[in-house]
Subunit: 558 residues, 2 copies
């Protein structure tokens, strides 16, 4: 990565014409100070990290202080049609799996592992009462488990890396957790077609590292890549950072292997880019959040890895300027544009305050953008980027900017976007929203909510105000806004101010109340804001068709 | 488009080192002589062209000589559960639609238009007995028509541009044709997001021309673009020429509006790139060939149009060389590679013989490739292409080649690929197959079939042999082979030699018996070669769920 002095200089020129040195020298490690691990009960403080064996690590005592979902959502009642776990059931599973793969808690003396981490989500916001975690190693085992559960009316929760944000991957009551971590083999890779076939439990980063050795890339990237599993990614239709360039999983996943509640195995693990032989059944499973079957393997087309990656980070005067920069990037960077992220000034200010370190740019800007290019030719990419930078500087679209000139700097600039989430929990908790909106109106909502909470006396600098700030950032290239409300404490008045107001606002603009996070427990009641009664009826038909007993991931989704 | 003399010269060097002038000068209009329109009964002779009003043009007397599908496929019997058209039904439709939109044939004296063109497919291979063609103008009209048909057990065939190759868009018996040509409005286009919303009956080329004015491109291109409709494209999950670059319709279509047999309207016309709120129901309709509902509108994300298009055409020694060229193109052209097509020498020889004009390259080569790049920067693209060309010449991967240097030449080179289909019908008929296979084995099948037919005495130069040749070409970038067997006459012995042998061959290699053409009437019996019994069972469940009376496009698909 090389940033020519000419561009770098011109990049600074408008904002800081008195500064003689090219801006690139001014990049400092953006986030020198590591966040302290704080064991709080807040929803979005330093997240629990899955350990090597899967599950969520953390002080068990702290884990046990987390509120049960059944207490936070008292209107959700355990369905009496589901059986309670008995010795007979346990015996069946223990005969089917080895003792390390059928983990009990508080049911028998055979408990081999604390299962609490499997009951708690990444944000520590949801907590279930599961007493049994099963870790199948083969599709056949998943099939036998599901058939038995279906025959015996035992509810289950499929669980991947447990990194979701809507409580979809942990139980609400005593559902059995089916954790996919032991199904972690890469089955095949063809380096001519770029098609990978792998078990559902392969960790995204493991898959991507494997592909990197073969000069290919997994067409999905997420902050949680070190923990999330590709089966979970597909079953939640994860969006992430590469969607702008490589498209959605609906286009990239070529086949799945999945198990239905009755134990039947869907063997649709096609490795063909084209196959028009009947309804594309696999599509129903992409984004179904484990409610109609458990994905056990996927085949996916992976693009060639781009040898040239460039990242630039800008300060801008207004959201209008950010839109102009996006249009310019689409036009001038064309096929090499691989990400266009927007962060508001408040998100970066919080990053600075919580991290206690300086940001890549000096001074405060109302908005920031991160632009990434990926291409096959370093010189061509640099030239395209140079032209783009000159244009946005000369047209005064951006106020200031830096261009990474090493892998380390690329990572540092990305950290300014990716680590916002972690900082937001600093004050106690966060109300998190993930919305699709028309690009032009995307930030209007953030300002509207900020005004609303301020007028209602809920937002302020002092402790009497529950709300610290209202922050917006997200994947501008996908018109996907992450609206976050960091709070000093969860407060019913704040919740009432936000919901359903914010969903109504989104619905009026034909937006989506969940762009990429999915429905899970937390968004389930609000689906009507994004889908019509006809659509909801059709979805319920599908759920009933595949899971007539309703044993799969109950109390969630739809 | 500029081909530097250096590259052009080097491109010729290996094969024709004595030739002093750059090869680009040697491009001649590839297909000067227009094909004669031959009114034969063959499957793939000069196709009937849809006229301005839709439907298929042609001498009615000729049209009437085409064999009925019910005669060609005598095992298909009309289902007695379907009602026959009565005066009462006709009265209903005439009250609902104006006389130009409810076209009768041989039922009343009110016949306003010959409806035979709506009964016959593009290849003149399938012919139905429909007596009524309905042309709704609104989604509401489609809804009323379907509800009435469903209530009265009247079978229907949804029809777009009628350009399919498997008999899916014409009736088998007396099904009512619902032709979508009057629903042809572009509803909206957003030039920031690139999202187009348009009626199903908009012709693909019309949509693409509209987008061209806005510097965008429809992410699908087909030889039939002047006639096919975008609703038909989506309902058949058309693949075509841009899939390698822009991906499949499953990834690009963002929403659909569709009508179910009971008249209910699916209002899922989302214009959001991301929307994780429930099962992605629209995906079921993409590629369902009008068997579960009628698509009335789509929303689709359209990329920016690339200002730079380059096309090169090569002669190669062997299929192994073609594979090497493909690998080199993927590696060196990277993100600008937009098509990689393979044609065997026989396909180009037939083109030359039938067209009576010289091909872009002199001499015969066993294989040919067409490589297209689309990018945002002409100079960068030319340089990438130059590097690629130098590499494939120096490594002796290609034997000879030309590079287009004008829009006209681009079109001429593309004609060498796109017009093969038309030439193949020259001798009488064609057995056509559209297969997905592992790239390495793709051409092996063509050679195997050629040997087989030769050994069986079915292939030869004289009239006593039914088979003229066995020809292979296709979208190498998508591992999609079009295997064609041009014949002097249709012959049961040829058919028996080809089927099911060819499907078994494909199935053994986990290929698809229909990569992009779909199932329709002709592939319906063979789905078992590409899908398991479990998958077929799941598909039948979907069909029964949406169309319990089976009125939608009966006798086809599944």
């Amino acid at each position: 990565m090389v940033a020519s002095a000419r561009v770098a200089a011109s990049l600074r020129r408008a904002a800081l014409s008195s500064r003689p040195s090219p801006c690139i020298k001014n990049i400092r490690p953006a986030l020198q100070v590591r966040w302290k691990t704080e064991a709080t009960t807040s929803a979005s403080s330093e997240p629990l990290q899955p350990d090597a064996k899967g599950g969520v690590k953390g002080d068990p005592a702290t884990a046990k202080s987390i509120k049960f979902t059944s207490d936070s959502y008292p209107h959700i009642q355990r369905e009496s049609k589901f059986a309670k776990l008995t010795e007979k059931h346990i015996q069946y599973f223990q005969e089917l799996l080895d003792s390390e793969s059928a983990v009990l808690d508080g049911v028998t003396k055979d408990a081999t592992e604390d299962i609490e981490p499997f009951n708690i989500d990444w944000m520590r916001k949801f907590r279930g009462h599961a007493q049994l975690v099963l870790k199948p190693s083969t599709t056949e085992e998943v099939s036998r488990i599901l058939k038995y559960c279906n025959d015996n009316m035992l509810a289950v929760v499929p669980q991947g890396g447990n990194t979701g944000l809507v409580g979809g991957s942990v139980p609400v009551f005593d559902e059995i957790v089916i954790n996919m971590q032991k199904m972690n083999n890469i089955r095949s890779f063809d380096d001519v077609s770029g098609i990978l076939v792998a078990d559902a439990g392969v960790i995204l980063e493991v898959a991507d590292n494997f592909l990197a050795e073969k000069q290919h890339i997994f067409p999905l990237d997420l902050g949680a890549k070190g923990s999330c599993q590709i089966g979970g990614n597909v079953s939640t239709n994860a969006g992430g950072l590469r969607l702008l360039r490589y498209g959605s999983l609906h286009g990239n996943v070529l086949g799945i292997e999945a198990v239905l509640p009755d134990g039947s195995i869907i063997d649709d693990l096609s490795t063909l880019r084209k196959n028009n032989t009947g309804y594309d059944m696999k599509q129903l499973f992409i984004g179904s959040e484990g409610t109609i079957g458990i994905i056990t393997a996927i085949s996916i087309q992976c693009p060639r890895r781009s040898p040239a990656i460039n990242v630039a980070y800008f300060g801008l005067e207004s959201y209008e300027h950010a839109q102009k920069a996006f249009r310019a990037a689409k036009g001038q960077l064309g096929e090499i544009l691989s990400a266009f992220e927007m962060m508001d000034g408040r998100s970066q200010k919080i990053l600075k305050e919580v991290a206690g370190t300086k940001l890549p740019l000096e001074g405060d800007h109302p908005f920031y953008c991160l632009v990434e290019t990926s291409g096959s030719n370093t010189d061509h990419d640099s030239e395209k980027l140079q032209n783009f930078l000159e244009h946005v500087m000369e047209a005064e679209i951006v106020s200031d900017g830096v261009l990474a000139e090493s892998q380390t700097q690329v990572a540092e600039l990305w950290a300014c976007r990716e680590r916002i989430t972690e900082c937001l929990g600093h004050w106690g908790g966060v109300y998190k929203y993930d919305l699709s909106l028309p690009i032009a109106q995307m930030y209007e909502l953030v300002e509207d909510i900020r005004d609303r909470l301020t007028k209602q006396g809920l937002l302020g600098d002092t402790n009497e105000h529950p709300v610290v700030d209202v922050v917006g950032y997200g994947h501008m290239g996908d018109a996907n806004l992450h609206l976050n409300v960091p709070v000093r404490r969860f407060d019913k008045a704040v919740e009432k101010s936000l919901e359903p107001y914010l969903y109504e606002w989104t619905s009026k603009r034909n937006g989506s109340i969940s762009a990429e996070h999915g429905l899970g427990v937390s968004k389930k009641p609000y689906i009507g804001y994004s889908k019509s009664a006809t659509m909801i009826k059709l979805m319920k038909q599908i759920k009933n068709l595949y899971d007539p007993n309703g044993i799969l991931n109950p109390y969630k989704y739809i």
